[in-house]
Amino acid sequence: MAKILMIHPDKCTGCRNCELACEFVHEGQFRPAATRVQAYSWEREGISVPMLCQQCDDAACVKVCPTGAMHRSTTLANLVDWDERVCIRCKMCTVACPFGNARYDAASSSIFKCDTCQGAPECVTFCPNGALEYVDDTQQVRSRKKAYAAKFKDAFQEVS
């Protein structure tokens, strides 16, 4: 049963609980540079969007990695994992990712990229608004599709 971390920006309030949870699970402290997920806010528009690794099937970071440190996980579906033992910190992955979701952290000499907390994502637990969802890949967009379909249901109910 493969799961996907789905984002719902329409539900994001910009509270950054996801970031705090991510920092804490990885380092046991609250250091903004350590979060793999980031919720960006635009104040005037009142919109916030969480951004994190999309675990691409055909990942640029995997393609470009010279040592295989970036690789598709063989234990967990829908996960591009990072093996720090063979990583040479060349940072090519950070250059290759078109979304900017892989980052080099000098303080810890690591590549930061969402690892879904190995299948138990803390950000999903901590998000108070359902803006992050860890869902079966067959039902990935179900909640959004159905929510929109419900608008038609309401409209039709009124006229029938």
Partner: protein, 601 residues
């Protein structure tokens, strides 16, 4: 240190000097942080007789030890200074993300001293601190200032700034952060303006650590669950915002109407949270680490009052709405947007306009005074026009921006100013709700609801509540709320987390975060200590028991219509008991024994 960063940043604008000092461990233990720490520093370093708008006053930005962690809805900070509106130690609380960013930059407090020679702003990036020229941003609204400062520093910097009102030293001027959050009351914006300081920008790459990560996480998960299970903290505030209170207060007949001339407003529903949700709400918004999301992202399409931003909150909808005899939500929201942009306190300004309306209707002032405007209750266009003028400081607006006490007094009728200790009371009529009246009267910063929010028990209490119409038991209720809130404010938590958790949970999270064992008793005692320290300052400034009172209207003139018709506030039944239970003498002065008990001698 854990929770705390261990460092305080001090900037002297007169000398252009930046220094750092270690956070005093004993002070941190005994006052926690934020409001408490700020109260202690102001008490120790500023002369109570100092001119609040002079260079000897100090302006402190201080988060709490929980700020910057994932304690639920605990990302707050205080602005602490001698308040120019009334001389008390102002500790104005705000959310957004500015407080956490100060922690990540490495600071438990930022103390600003002196006065810059010319308009300046501060740029703090971890341990790099610059005092920069603000000529290019002086005069701008708070949103524009935020964008301009970020363009000149870092696009992700968090910015706290004043608008034109603070630059003009308006006594109602506030400090805005993240464009729509406010350190609103008591004129803290004017202090910042008096120091020629336009903005503080901060960006931090550091870390906030907790002493016992496992225990902290467990305490946090428990608190989160309790808040999420609470009808207000878990659902109500997100769905409707604070503005849902309009109808509740009106239905119990305690919605102050037309400058507190009455307590019931028949068309209140039009400016309530239900109407807001239906007409103007785009989506909810949450501050840093917040799980409650009471913030409202809103817009007004009506071309007459067109605008976008956040709010209004309940107190704002009340002050520009029913308090002015107005039921036009678009106009009320527009007034709110203007106040945010220009940096002025919505509660006090709305109430001041209401005061002016009463003076006008009574013939004390005329259209000659009000720039030709017919400033009567219910005149929506006039309310918005006067709001705009107060924001820009032009014409009659310049007087409004100084607050209702000075306005009414200047025309020989201070009795029409609905203030306690010169600060405007908010949106709960104490004639219908006895305990909040005691809180207004005894409040250290004057008319204020948040520092002793007995409404939670007297109006919203459900089965566990207390009857708002009785005075029995109210002294104890007020004291408990005042003490608990002082400690809560000082830890960095948001007041709304009390819709779910209380002293025990806060003390538990604080202990696990800091590594200092705070029992519930100790936590409340610290709150009591802070309250008494604020009181001692007020006594030195010249406040006496005579100032622990309400406007005559609320003691003598009964509510005219509605469910609470015929009622007055019976402060005299509550005040003596309050002094006694606080361990103060009959003049409201803390006894030597009480001060010794609190280690305040």
């Amino acid at each position: 240190m854990f929770g705390w960063t261990g460092t305080i940043l001090r900037v002297n604008l007169t000398k252009g000097k930046v220094s750092r000092e270690a956070t005093d461990v004993k002070l941190a233990h005994d006052y926690i942080g934020a409001r408490g720490l700020g109260v202690r520093i102001i008490s120790d370093e500023v002369d109570p007789k100092a001119d609040a708008l002079g260079p000897d006053n100090k302006l402190i930005f201080a988060p709490g030890p929980l700020t910057g962690t994932f304690a639920p809805s605990a990302g707050r900070f205080d602005v602490i200074t001698k308040g120019p509106l009334n001389g008390v130690i102002a500790a104005s609380n705000s959310g957004g993300s500015f407080g956490p960013e100060l922690k990540y930059a490495g600071y438990d407090a930022l103390i600003i001293e002196g006065k810059a020679a010319k308009p300046s702003y501060l740029w703090i990036k971890d341990d790099e601190v610059e005092i920069r020229d603000a000529a290019a941003i002086w005069g701008h609204t708070t949103p524009d200032t935020t964008d301009l400062v970020r363009a000149a520093t870092d696009e992700d910097a968090k910015v706290a700034c004043i608008g034109p009102a603070g630059e003009k030293l308006a006594l109602l001027a506030n400090i805005m952060n993240e464009m729509f959050r406010a350190a609103g009351r008591t004129g803290v914006g004017a202090v910042m303006g008096s120091k020629n300081l336009k903005a503080v920008a901060v960006y931090g790459n550091g870390a906030v650590r907790v002493a016992d990560p496992e225990a902290f996480k467990a305490a946090v998960m428990k608190s989160r669950q309790m808040i999420q299970a609470h009808p207000v903290g878990g659902a109500g505030l997100k769905a409707y915002g604070t503005d849902v209170l309009v109808n509740i207060l009106n239905q119990i007949g305690s919605l102050p109407t037309r400058n507190y001339q009455d307590g019931y407003f028949p068309t209140a529903d039009k400016v309530g949270g239900e109407s807001l949700a239906a007409k103007q709400l785009i989506r909810p918004k949450g501050c840093f680490s917040c799980i409650i999301s009471c913030g409202r992202v809103t817009k007004v399409d009506n071309p007459a009052y067109q605008g976008a931003g956040e709010g209004p909150e309940y107190e704002t909808a009340w002050s520009f709405g029913p308090d002015c005899g107005i039921d036009d939500l678009d106009a009320v929201t527009k007034a709110n947007f203007l106040c945010n942009e220009y940096g002025i306190d919505t509660i006090s300004l709305g109430s001041t306009i209401a005061c002016a309306m009463e003076l006008f209707e009574r013939g004390v002032i005329t259209a000659k005074d009000t720039d030709g405007v017919q400033l009567t209750f219910g005149n929506t266009a006039a309310m918005v026009e006067m709001t705009r003028k107060a924001c820009t400081g032009e014409g009659f607006g310049a007087k409004l921006a100084q607050g209702s006490y000075r306005l009414a007094e200047s025309y020989g009728h201070p009795e029409y100013s609905m203030t306690c200790k010169k600060q405007e009371m908010p949106a709960y009529d104490p004639r219908g709700v006895q305990g909040i009246g005691l809180n207004y009267a005894t409040g250290n910063r004057g008319g204020c609801h948040v520092r002793g929010y007995t409404i939670a028990v007297e109006v919203l209490g459900g089965a566990g509540g207390m009857d708002p119409r009785v005075t029995e038991g109210k002294p104890g209720l007020d004291i408990l709320f005042q003490n608990l809130t002082a400690a809560l404010d000082s830890s960095g938590a948001c007041l709304f987390s009390t819709f779910g958790i209380g002293g025990p949970e806060l003390a538990e999270m604080l202990s696990a975060a800091t590594g200092v064992e705070y029992s519930l008793e100790e936590f409340l005692k610290i709150g009591e200590r802070i309250w008494n320290a604020e009181r001692l300052w007020n006594l030195k400034v010249g406040f006496t028991a005579a100032d622990d009172t309400l406007p005559e209207r609320l003691l003598k003139d009964p509510i005219k219509t509605g469910p609470a018709k015929g009622m007055v506030n019976r402060l005299d039944e509550m005040l003596p008991g309050y002094y006694q239970e606080r361990g103060w003498d009959e003049s409201g002065v803390p006894t030597k024994a009480k001060l010794k008990e609190l280690a305040l001698v």
